[in-house]
Amino acid sequence: MRRRYFLLGAGASLAGCARDYRPRLNVMNWSAYIAPDSIPKFEAEAGVRVRYAIYESNEEMLARVGGGNSGWDVVFPSSFFIKPMIGEELLAPIDHSRLSHLDHLDAPFRHPSYDPGLQWSVPYMTGAAGIVFNRSLTPVPSRWSDLWNPALKGRITMLDDPTDVFGACLKRLGKSINTEREDELRAAQREAFQQKPLLRAYINAEVRDQVVSGDVLAAQMWNTTAQQAMDESPAIGYVYPAEGYCAYLDTMVILRESRRQELAYRFLDFMLRPSVAAANALTARTTTTNAAARRLFPPAFRDNPTLYPPPEVTARGEWELALSPATVLLRDRLWTEIKSA
């Protein structure tokens, strides 16, 4: 019994400290997507406190803010999630007059197809899924087909996500990653079945350490995770596959439920400020959509082919779009079959 009281006492005394009563902005972002000192800097500038939480998937974020009374103010959905979120009336329209740094954005991102005129969202970072590999491989991988190489059995991984796996299979077949055709999806599934015996695992960013340590020789991976692995070991390389690849864009939005719109705008504008945007991309090893920020980069980072590939490479990229419910249903069914095979 004594133990219980002891613990209670310890808990109560801990609970006594560490509370803070400044006004607070609640921000939820993808993991590893910001410079560590950006939030403290904003807190100091605005005299507020920021609750900064992270999520790992759009769905997780939507489940948490979907009720419309979650308490969050700013979140970072992917571009293809904007339309559903407008549909569910979760977003507040963006008032451009309150954002002084909006014109620093790269030209292509000022009028994107998913949100023409940026009425609801502000672009943040972009990314893409390609192949990260160990330079000891000869020849080094250059296309998706190299991930079907039997010589690498047990040393390959793919992302644990239907969009990315189907994307790679479809690209290998020369199809669009956003296809709605059942026969193409089924053909892609056959490719995945063929590949599965060669795979070590379906795994996301956590594979990074196994790539660095050499346990995994080639992996389907996001460019930002690959860049982190390359920073850690010179033996690691990255390639945008010749058949084409899947690209995505993440945005910043203000939730309709937010009671602190003023503060939320201030935060968005802060994140758009070139020095802040540059610091975020530089430390998180990501691709910013902010042209002015890019000019502030050290040359080695600005010209780095993993995060800032030349135009002939980006031409191969295909933006991820929202699929029809029927296609999502079919794709998930096919995905379950692949995984349980």
Partner: protein
């Protein structure tokens, strides 16, 4: 409190009878389509696999936990200390424990490094990302769930009965088999339930240690509520699973001719 336990169940029932919304979530019309989709051999194989993995895990947990519970219950004043020590590793996060195992099992992990240094094996053994790793992870995760109820029953056991058996000439293993195990039956049942059921619904361990290459029923349901955003089907699948487990429990109870609890 009962409301808090029952109301969500009602919500799940309602979800399972609705239609998937265009962006996930649920909407009308009401329909039983989600249940229809359950009648599919694909899901039967997933179910059988899940029962197999959970069954092996539960058996291993019970076998491993019983001697430990026995040891603790015989430790006099140290009882509480040992009991706390069983629990202690589980106050560090589940995820940390799983990562610790991944760290041990990897090709360049501790076990393989030691084996290779000692020249026991030349190539690293593929320890991670298979069913063995999943079962190991599950046993590790649920072992205290088996130790605690077993301890709670054994601790209470009348030692004079065991002494009587010994006085009557029973060997230690005979005492164990004929007297102690039957007396510990309620503990075994409680432990079995506490391990088997959460095992069936688990999804993080199979994902992390199995390398996402197998789908268990927990993964299937989890996936419906996340990436697939098909809540009605996820709700229907979980209700079907719950019903199945309840029926199995009821049958197991009837055979024993006593209340489970």
């Amino acid at each position: 409190m009962l409301l808090l336990m029952i109301a969500p169940l009602g919500i799940v029932c309602a979800y399972s009878l609705l239609t998937r919304g265009p962006y996930g979530g649920v909407m009308r019309p009401w329909s039983i389509g989600a249940y229809g989709r359950l009648a599919d051999p694909l899901y039967a194989t997933i179910l059988v696999r899940s029962f197999w993995i959970s069954g092996v895990t539960t058996t291993l947990c019970l076998v491993l936990a019983f001697p430990l519970a026995l040891f603790i219950s015989r430790s006099g004043r140290r009882k509480n200390l040992y009991l706390s020590l069983v629990i202690l590793p589980f106050w560090t996060s589940f995820l940390i424990r799983t990562y610790a195992w991944m760290f041990l099992l990897r090709d360049t992990g501790l076990i393989n490094t030691v084996l290779q240094t000692l020249h026991v094996v030349r190539q690293p053994l593929p320890l991670l990302y298979n069913d063995g790793a999943v079962i190991l992870g599950l046993v590790y995760a649920y072992l205290p769930f088996a130790v605690l109820p077993l301890y709670a029953t054994i601790e209470r056991m009348d030692v004079t009965l065991l002494e009587a058996a010994a006085d009557l000439g029973a060997r230690p293993w005979q005492t164990m088999l004929r007297v102690m195990l039957p007396l510990a039956a309620p503990g075994f049942i409680a432990a079995g339930v506490l391990v088997f059921i959460p095992c069936l619904g688990s999804y993080l361990t199979p994902d992390l240690l199995g390398g996402g290459k197998t789908v268990l029923i927990g993964n299937l349901i989890q996936n419906q509520f996340t990436t697939a955003r098909d809540w009605p089907f996820g709700a229907a699948a979980s209700l079907a699973l719950m019903a199945l487990v309840m029926v199995l429990l009821a049958v197991a109870l009837r055979r024993r001719r006593e209340a489970l609890l």
